[in-house]
Each structure stands twice: as structure tokens, then as C-alpha cells.
């Protein structure tokens, strides 16, 4: 490192799941020299799974994360379907998808009202203690609070009814589901889903009223320097519409043209994983485009996943109200693909509405109540399962031996796909706001906001919602001594 570079460290990052660290390096003029996003924890999860029964994997992998166990549960179940050559019968598929859309709705709701949305609902320059759910309630009204709790509860109730338990579902089995639901349960889900649709629509109304009228947010979604023209990846169904549970993996380029569309087993042919000495996380990129460093553009294999990516790879959203909102989204930006990183927030709410609508439609699906719950299993082998977690494409890949025991495991989680893009977004925001060595709390929150767009989940295992995790910022002189420390 140059002697004239100073070092700013943000560790840990607040209001995200798990542990991460942002490193900012300042040049001699106090501007930004470089920025990196680190995941300093080594988990070794894949090794832990070796030698275990394949059918245990949905219960094991869902404990990787205290936030989105449903995503791992069904990514794992789908992988076992593939390993045993046993696609689930229509009833089992409908049940899985029903639970899964309930999870997407609930998780996106969490992000908007608790994690990322408060940045703008309250204002990025508000004191840190106000940039949380309390500040949101203060801004939009107390009655909303009860609606947030009620609808979070609806999402969890759907998971409980279909998944067998309110936490850590147990219903997914290779080739199907362990249980169905009763007519009373179906009717309850239908009623909750109808309410969820209205709540999601109302939340989009709040977004438009509060954020699209907010000068800072408008600046951030409009400023070209904060946009990343990357490739995008996501699942689409046979009509090219967004599908969280199943479909083909579609990748489009920065110009929106299709780069690839493959079935789950083909996705690993598209990507290569790269290691860097400063982080334990592997950094995937599009193999045939190649690695050109941390850069966007058509010649860089960096790609993004998650809500914005899904809306960029799809031809439609697939549900009527969300489709209307999707078209308004495209109109706002003058068409797609939309590269504005801060548009992730808007895309997430459109998906929240779509998930609620899809839940309502599935609750009325005749496949839900009749038919077989499991397909016969073939011989164990190798399989890949792909699902769209709330944060983006989640890939499980297992190889079972002839006794059904795990011989090999590889997991590529949503935040991993986004690591290169997160580093780029942090760098662009820091370049825009860090000047003359000024790194006060307001500026640091802006840098964190660029990170929170992605709703990153680094948890891997535990159960901390780090609402009050300390934020420590060290500003170091060229010789490495701490010249200034900021804590909150």
C-alpha cells in the first residue's frame, strides 16, 4: 500500500445479517483510493455435510442461516429431487411453492420496514438511533406498525401450516412433501394472502409517496455514477416470468440481450469461482466473459442477482398487480435493464406484491388438495438445485454415493454472487461522498446504504439481529496508527 494511503474500516456493518467488514482506503488528498467488501469468517460448512444422509440435508442446510432457512430447505430438497431423479408431483410442487411465496413476502417485508427502507423513510442524514423501525413508525404512522406485525405473522403462519413448523420447515422430502394441508388450513391461507396483497400494494404506495418524492433517493436512483451496468441472473418460468421457486436460469447482459438460459444442471457451467487473499468468500463470475477485476460492463464477468436482477432478466412478473407496478418501474427508468443499484428497493416491493398474489393464486390451485405427495425415488446420484432466495439465486450441488450418503457439496448463496458488485457499489458511493478525508457518520451511513441495497445475508449460522451492533470506524495515518476512531 502506498505511504500516502489512509485506511478506514467499517466493522461490523449494522442492520445486516451476519458479519461483514468494509475497508476504505483514502489517498493523500483525502479522496477514495479503493474499497473492498470482506467476509472475514471461515465457516467450512460443506465439509461438515460430508458422509451424512442425503435426506438430512434439507434440515441441516436450513440452519446455515437464521434469516432464510426456507430458501436453503427447498434449494436442498430440489437438489435431492435431482439426485434421485424424482421431480415432485403437482400437489407437492404447489405446496412447496405456496410456502415459498409466503417466505418471500415476509422476508421482503422485513427488509423494507426494518433493514434497508429506513435509510430513506427516515432520511439518510437522520441520527443513527432514528434510522430504524422506530423512525419509520414516526414517519408513516402508528397504525402501520400493527399491520407490519400482523403480516409478518401471516408469512410465518403460512410457513407453519405448510412446512409443519413455524420455524425451520420439515416438510420437504426428496421427490415431494411429507404432508398436505386441510381445507380449513387452505382457507386460512387464502384469507391471509388476500390481506397480504392489499398490504403489499399499500407498501408500494408508501414507497412512491415517501421515496419517489425524496430528493436524496431520486438522486441515488438517477445518478449514473451509482449505477452498475452488469450482467444479471435469475430464474424465469416457461413464459419468461419471474418465478422464485422453479424455472430456468436466465442471464442477460448490460444491454438486456440474453446471454444464456439453462436448466438448473447447466448453471455451474456458466460460472467460475475466484478466490482473493483478503476474503474467505469465493467470488463467482461468468466464465466465458472472464474476470476483468472489479469492474462492470459487457467485458466483465461480474453479474448481479436478487430483486433488481430478477426484474431485469424477466419478460414479465407473472401476476397482474405486480405486472402493473413493474411496467411503472420500467417507465420511470425509460425501460430496462435498470442498472441503478438503489432500484433494488423498488424491485423488492414489486416482488413482495407478486409473492402475495402468487400465494393467493396457489391457495386456490386445485392441485393443492388432491393427488400424490411424493414421487418414487430412483438411484442416488448427482444433482443441482436452484431457487431464488429473497436475496437472489441460491444454488446447491450434491453428489450422493450409492448408499445415499453425501460425497460432495457445493453451495453458492445469493450474497456470494453479489460480492463483486457490492464492492463496486461501495466504491462508487464512497468515491461520490468521501472528500477531503471527511468520513463522519452521515457519510459512512451513505456508504453502508449502498451495501444494504443488496439485502446481504452473511449469517451462515447464528441468530443475531444486530440492530445495535457497534459500528467502529478507524481512520489511520499512512504509518497505520489510528488517528481517529468513530463508534456508535
Amino acid at each position: 500500500m502506498s505511504e500516502t494511503v489512509r485506511h478506514v474500516s467499517i466493522d461490523p456493518i449494522t442492520r445486516l445479517e451476519g458479519h461483514g467488514r468494509i475497508e476504505l482506503f483514502l489517498d493523500e488528498n483525502g479522496g477514495l483510493a479503493d474499497a473492498f467488501f470482506q467476509i472475514p469468517e471461515l465457516r467450512g460448512f460443506e465439509r461438515f455435510c460430508l458422509g451424512r444422509q442425503g435426506e438430512d440435508m434439507p434440515q441441516i442446510t436450513e440452519r446455515i442461516c437464521g434469516v432464510c432457512p426456507e430458501a436453503h430447505h427447498f434449494a436442498s430438497t430440489k437438489t435431492l429431487d435431482a439426485c434421485y431423479g424424482a421431480p415432485p408431483p403437482p400437489r407437492a410442487k404447489a405446496l412447496r411453492e405456496l410456502l415459498y411465496n409466503g417466505y418471500i413476502f415476509s422476508d421482503h417485508l422485513l427488509h423494507f420496514y426494518y433493514l434497508g427502507g429506513p435509510d430513506f423513510l427516515v432520511g439518510p442524514y437522520a441520527p443513527p438511533q432514528e434510522r430504524n423501525i422506530f423512525g419509520v413508525i414516526g414517519k408513516v404512522g402508528l397504525e402501520l406498525g400493527k399491520e407490519v406485525i400482523k403480516h409478518r405473522g401471516y408469512g410465518q403462519r403460512i410457513i407453519e401450516l405448510v412446512g409443519g413448523r413455524p420455524i425451520h420447515p420439515v416438510s420437504g422430502l426428496p421427490g415431494g412433501q411429507s404432508k398436505g394441508i386441510t381445507e380449513e388450513e387452505r382457507a386460512e391461507i387464502e384469507s391471509m394472502a388476500a390481506s397480504a396483497v392489499e398490504f403489499a400494494q399499500a407498501t408500494i404506495g408508501i414507497f412512491k409517496e415517501k421515496l419517489l418524492e425524496d430528493a436524496t433517493f431520486v438522486r441515488f436512483v438517477s445518478e449514473e455514477s451509482l449505477a452498475l451496468p452488469t450482467y444479471y441472473m435469475g430464474l424465469v418460468d416457461g413464459e419468461g416470468a419471474v418465478n422464485f421457486y422453479d424455472g430456468k436460469v436466465r442471464v442477460v447482459g448490460p444491454d438486456g440481450a440474453e446471454y444464456a438460459q439453462v436448466a438448473a444442471e447447466g448453471v455451474l457451467e456458466l460460472i467460475e469461482e475466484r478466490t482473493e487473499p483478503w476474503t474467505y468468500v469465493k467470488i463467482p463470475y461468468l466464465k466465458d466473459v472472464g474476470w476483468s477485476g472489479f469492474a462492470a460492463g459487457p467485458d466483465s464477468g461480474v453479474y448481479r442477482v436478487g430483486p433488481l436482477a430478477r426484474l431485469n432478466v424477466c419478460k414479465a412478473v407473472g401476476t397482474p398487480r405486480a405486472q402493473t407496478e413493474y411496467e411503472a418501474f420500467l417507465d420511470y427508468f425509460g425501460g430496462g435493464p435498470v442498472h441503478a443499484t438503489f432500484a433494488y428497493h423498488w424491485a423488492r416491493l414489486i416482488e413482495m406484491l407478486s409473492a402475495a398474489e402468487r400465494t393467493a393464486a396457489l391457495a386456490a390451485d386445485p392441485n393443492l388438495m388432491d393427488g400424490s405427495l411424493r414421487a418414487p425415488l430412483g438411484e442416488p446420484g448427482e444433482g443441482v438445485g436452484v431457487i431464488e432466495a429473497a436475496r437472489g439465486t441460491l444454488i446447491h450441488h450434491y453428489r450422493l454415493n450409492d448408499r445415499g450418503l453425501i460425497d460432495a457439496v457445493n453451495l453458492i448463496v445469493a450474497t456470494t454472487h453479489n460480492v463483486a458488485a457490492i464492492s463496486l457499489s461501495i466504491k462508487e458511493m464512497a468515491r461520490a461522498v468521501v472528500q477531503d478525508g471527511n468520513v463522519d457518520q452521515g457519510i459512512l451511513n451513505l456508504v453502508e446504504m449502498s451495501f444494504r441495497n443488496y439485502d446481504p445475508c452473511l449469517a451462515c449460522a447464528t441468530h443475531a439481529l444486530p440492530g445495535q451492533m457497534p459500528l467502529i470506524v478507524d481512520v489511520r495515518d499512512a504509518d497505520g496508527t489510528v488517528r481517529r476512531r468513530i463508534e456508535r
Binding site: 445479517e17 465457516r43 467450512g44 460448512f45 465439509r47 461438515f48 441441516i60 440452519r63 437464521g66 434469516v67 432457512p69 422485513l110 426494518y114 430504524n132 423501525i133 422506530f134 413508525i137 402508528l142 406498525g145 400493527k146 407490519v148 406485525i149 409478518r152 405473522g153 410465518q156 413455524p166 420455524i167 425451520h168 449469517a459 449460522a461 447464528t462 441468530h463 443475531a464 439481529l465 444486530p466 440492530g467 445495535q468
Partner: protein, 160 residues
């Protein structure tokens, strides 16, 4: 009065699974039709706090990363007094934040009292689906504490 016992931890993260293990011991003892509902979870604090809604009294069994010594630590959160509540258990900051969030959201059905029992551990180990030998014993003590406190109606830590 409705009561809930929550075993909080990750059962595949070594000693971090202590609370989970303790809750399973409680469940074995009281059965599914016992005087308290028993659940286990590795979820984040907000979902744990949401799970408490509708119960009068909640006992949380957990590993206490930050606690000193080897004694079980008992901390009481009274949601109505949440602003003044502090405690040494590793996850308590996050749980208090979550309870406070629900209070500010005017959640109905927050418990009158949340009792956290934490058994100190050095640090969660890497992936392992069994607590260490010393933690097996600590899990039994946690389970006894929960039973004494909630099921038999007296503060459990003295008997644990």
C-alpha cells in the same frame, strides 16, 4: 396463564446449540401436553420475539457468549419496562432491540415477563452437531432451571 420455553441456538454450531439441547431435555421431561409449550429455534431475534406474542410468560434458554465464570446467568426482561432492562447474556442486546421494536409497533400480546437463562460458553465452535461434554452438563442444568422456574412456579436458578 400461557407459557412458552424457547431453546435458542444453532444445533449444528457446537456449543451454540446449548439452549436448543436444553429445551429438548425440557420437552422430554414435560411431554408435548405439558404446562408449557416448548420450541427450539435458530432464528434471528426478531422472529424469536415475534414467536413470543400471545404468551403470558416466556423462558429463553441460551448460550451466553459474553458471560463471565461458569454460573448460569438469569436475566429478566419485562417488556413494559424494557427501556431500563440490561443484561449480560450474549444475545440479549438483539432480543431487547427486537422486543423494543415490537413495543414501538404497539404489538398486542407481548409477554409480561421474559426470563433468559444463559450458560456461559467460551465461543461457538465451528460446525458440530453435538455440544462439548461440559456443555451437555450445562444443558441439563439449564433444563432444570427452566422446569423449576416455569413449571413448578419458583425461580429456578437456585436449584439448577
Amino acid at each position: 396463564m400461557t407459557a412458552l420455553i424457547i431453546g435458542w441456538g444453532n444445533p449444528i454450531a457446537g456449543d451454540d446449540g446449548l439452549g436448543w439441547k436444553a429445551a429438548e431435555l425440557v420437552r422430554e421431561h414435560v411431554g408435548r401436553a405439558g404446562p408449557a409449550e416448548v420450541v427450539t429455534t435458530a432464528h434471528g431475534a426478531l422472529r424469536v420475539a415475534e414467536r413470543m406474542l400471545g404468551y403470558d410468560r416466556v423462558v429463553v434458554l441460551d448460550a451466553a457468549v459474553d458471560a463471565e465464570g461458569s454460573e448460569i446467568v438469569r436475566t429478566v426482561i419485562r417488556p413494559r419496562e424494557i427501556e431500563a432492562t440490561e443484561g449480560p447474556i450474549g444475545h440479549d442486546g438483539s432480543l431487547i432491540d427486537a422486543v423494543r421494536a415490537l413495543r414501538r409497533l404497539r404489538a398486542d400480546g407481548l409477554p409480561e415477563e421474559i426470563v433468559l437463562y444463559g450458560a456461559p460458553i467460551a465461543a461457538p465452535r465451528d460446525w458440530d452437531d453435538r455440544p462439548s461434554a461440559s456443555m451437555e452438563e450445562a444443558a441439563a442444568r439449564l433444563a432444570r432451571a427452566a422446569l423449576a422456574e416455569l413449571v413448578f412456579g419458583r425461580e429456578g436458578i437456585a436449584d439448577a
